[in-house]
Symmetry: C2
Subunit: 154 residues, 2 copies
DNA sequence: CTGTATGCAAACGTTTTGCATGCGA
DNA sequence: TCGCATGCAAAACGTTTGCATACAG
């Protein structure tokens, strides 16, 4: 019952309440923008779309919100080597599934792949456990990237 | 015999000749600097050390050389999220072995790990082959990173 | 009401570019 | 000699910060 009541808000609002963060229009918009796309968006990509929804939003706020969401683990920050960070929502209902990237070193195309993750899961879990123990790390996430040349560029 | 003759030069000079690139003092120094350290060096780290060896070297040349070496696959470029790219020599004789990274999201400490690579090799090879086929990529490299919190920061 | 969140402008640090000069092949 | 490679200065770019204002709780 309590659960249902709390569920009335968007799926991320509980996290905000937990840390005493306020639910504001800019934050709702940034999350909405991220949710609406499957692309790997830079801060300015997010800003442009957010700005269309509400022109009063500022780029600085987009940066600050993305940073906050990254620290909460709600978004994941990537760098594909083109000089700007990219952001993706993770584990959101109806959103993208766990995936990794295939990066063309020539044209910078990014392919998401979600195949072959069963083998990965096994490998990652084992490695993660061993690394945690050996280096005393609390591991919360991982990324696997393959680099090469795409069909056009090879 | 021919092999031995060619071997007289530094291990990377053949690659330069192949693409018609000149062997210059700045380039020798940048490679020497990378070879002398096990750290993850930023362009300006490399510049500072190179500058000590030969003060006439310029930061721009360091950037250009690192970029060239990256494209040749002689160095690998990383971004650990602190705003500057890091560079590491790969596959050089006597240099660092194949490894991956454990990144503390709080203090940005980077741990290199070289353990558990047998399991990795098997997993990577299989996945790489399947991905190559499916997406028509020519895959030349990969990176695995684990994110979390180190002993001090957890 | 109180203090977090915001927008703007300005600052910051890294990386890139234009151009005249230097130097390897 | 010829043209790639260099160094310098300046520009460009993504990102961060200071500060006065707005607004959620």
């Amino acid at each position: 019952m309590v659960y249902l009541l709390r569920k009335r808000g968007a799926w991320w609002q509980d996290r905000f309440h937990d840390i005493g963060a306020r639910i504001t229009a800019p934050r709702e918009i940034v999350i909405a923008v991220l949710q609406e796309t499957d692309d790997h968006m830079s801060a300015s990509d997010v800003y442009i779309r957010a700005h269309k929804i509400n022109p009063s939003i500022g780029l600085t706020t987009v940066y600050r919100t993305l940073d906050m969401l990254t620290q909460l683990g709600i978004v994941q920050k990537f760098d594909f080597g083109d000089g700007k960070a990219r952001f993706e929502l993770v584990n959101n209902p109806g959103g993208k599934k766990h995936h990794h990237h295939l990066i063309c070193m020539n044209c910078k195309t990014i392919v998401d792949y979600t195949e072959f993750l069963d083998e990965e899961l096994e490998f990652i879990n084992k490695t993660q456990e061993k690394l945690s123990k050996k280096y005393n790390f609390k591991i919360t996430d991982h990324a696997i990237s393959f680099y090469g040349y795409c069909d056009q560029c090879r």
